[in-house]
């Protein structure tokens, strides 16, 4: 009988049958795992509070042929208090959905795990949730090894003037160099802020002011990179954020 002891964040919970839940976890030990919590929809179940979204815990799972099953667990912290603010909750779940969709291999995921925890901590504290989201997006690109190259025009080396971003290559091109149809203009503050986020991440994020227009450009760059490099599209939480006007 194979067992998995793991530290994990509950990313997503779905109802399964009458009384069970299907839980998607980001584990530090093996990345994304889907596990069944038997009986957890019943109010007296010992699992019901443990397998709520945005819970950080230690879990013991049994590895079956196709699925994992919860044996026991212990809650370390819940980020569920974010649910008093719809924007923060939506961003928290957006981070979760991004982890779920971009982490595709079964392997230790220390860095991604820490990134998600750092972002959730920041969401609880930062007065600007959108800023936390932009930092998470850019840090995620870095973590996935698809960091955009922002040191001047890739074609001629020019480091001044206005740039276009080419999401197919993840590079900048200057206005005078030939550029593909997919490319679009990005402002100097966007390039500068993205470089700052790549260099410092969440460190001293509170002094980094990101105007909404810059934030929207950074978001576009990140999503385009994820779409082109990893085929990530149709994120439900992102639809939610766009529909509610948070992005």
């Amino acid at each position: 009988m194979a067992e998995l002891r793991c530290h994990a964040v509950v990313l997503r919970v779905r109802s399964l049958g009458e009384a069970d839940k299907m839980v998607t976890l980001l584990t530090r030990e093996v990345g994304i795992v889907t596990a069944v919590a038997r009986g957890s929809r019943k109010t007296k179940s010992k699992f019901s509070a443990l397998v709520e979204p945005l819970t950080l815990g230690r879990f013991l799972l049994h590895q079956g042929r196709t699925l994992y099953t919860f044996i026991q667990g212990e809650r370390i912290k819940s980020y569920a208090k974010l649910n008093s603010d719809l924007e923060r909750l939506a961003y928290a779940q957006y981070f979760c959905e991004l982890c779920e969709r971009t982490l595709l291999e079964v392997r230790p995921a220390d860095a991604m795990f820490m990134l998600l925890l750092t972002a959730l901590e920041a969401l609880e504290q930062d007065k600007d949730p959108a800023r936390v989201a932009r930092c998470f997006e850019i840090s995620l690109l870095d973590e996935l090894g698809i960091r955009p190259a922002l040191e001047g025009c890739r074609s001629c080396g020019s480091t001044s003037g206005s740039y276009r971003f080419d999401p197919t290559e993840g590079i900048l091109l200057c206005a005078t160099c030939p550029h593909p149809v997919e490319s679009y203009p990005v402002s100097a503050p966007t390039v500068a802020t993205t470089k700052r986020l790549l260099e410092f991440g969440f460190h001293k994020l509170s002094v980094c002011v990101i105007p909404k227009a810059v934030g929207q450009e950074i978001h576009r760059i990140s999503m385009d990179m994820l779409t082109h490099s990893l085929g990530v599209t149709n994120l439900k939480s992102l639809d939610f954020l766009l529909k509610t006007g948070f992005i």
């Binding site: 009458e18 010992k46 649910n83 719809l86 909750l89 959905e97 939610f240």
Partner: protein, 198 residues
């Protein structure tokens, strides 16, 4: 397995029911074959009838087989209190206790960003329209004690409070008949938060 087509179809139909696997479906199908014909017809009619006649109450969104549900139609109910729930089945659960005399409002789900469900997908506008008619003095939030249910409660509270209506939330406590030492930390801390004077 080699069943005649008619039986195979029946087994397949039963398998669509929640919690019914192939073996149970087989057992149910063979049980149906042993019943008198009238009973089978009655059973089939009951299903079709319920499906055809069941609608959602125009006012509260509860199950009904007429325009307005039995709760909304009952003049003795206290129209100054509205209890907001996620699902019409929650109305049934609350009605079983026979203590609540107010009215209901069924949202038809809970806010869940990761599933793309926002306030617009729920019967939120209908709730506001009801409240603006001015008879309501208290809104009781009885959404589930889950991340989504709580988020929905916070959201409803935020839009209802400016109307000058009292907003309360169902208490989260310890399950009756359970041992304190087996309660999880979340339930315990909620129960402590919601303690009251004796």
């Amino acid at each position: 397995m080699f069943y005649p087509e008619s039986i195979a179809n029946l087994i397949e139909s039963f398998q669509k029911l929640p919690g019914v696997g192939p073996k149970t479906a087989q057992r149910l199908a063979f049980f149906v074959l042993t019943l008198p014909r009238e009973e089978v017809v009655q059973m089939a009619r009951a299903m079709v009838n319920a499906k055809d006649k069941t609608r959602y109450c125009r006012i509260c969104g509860n199950f009904t087989d007429s325009e307005v549900c039995t709760v909304c139609a009952d003049k003795r109910r206290d129209s100054s209190v509205i209890c907001v729930v996620q699902d019409a089945r929650d109305v049934m659960a609350l009605e079983r206790m026979r203590e609540f005399k107010g009215l209901y409002h069924v949202l038809g789900g809970a806010i869940s960003p990761i599933d793309g469900i926002g306030p617009d997908q729920l019967r939120m506008r209908e709730l506001l329209e009801r409240l603006k008619k001015g008879r309501t003095q208290e809104v009781i939030l009885a959404t589930n004690p889950t991340v989504e249910g709580e988020a929905t409660a916070f959201y409803v509270a935020r839009i209802v409070k400016p109307l000058g209506i009292r907003v309360t939330r169902l208490a989260h406590g310890l399950p009756v008949g359970g041992d304190l030492e087996y309660a999880d930390e979340v339930t315990l801390s909620r129960a402590l938060e919601g303690r009251r004077e004796l």
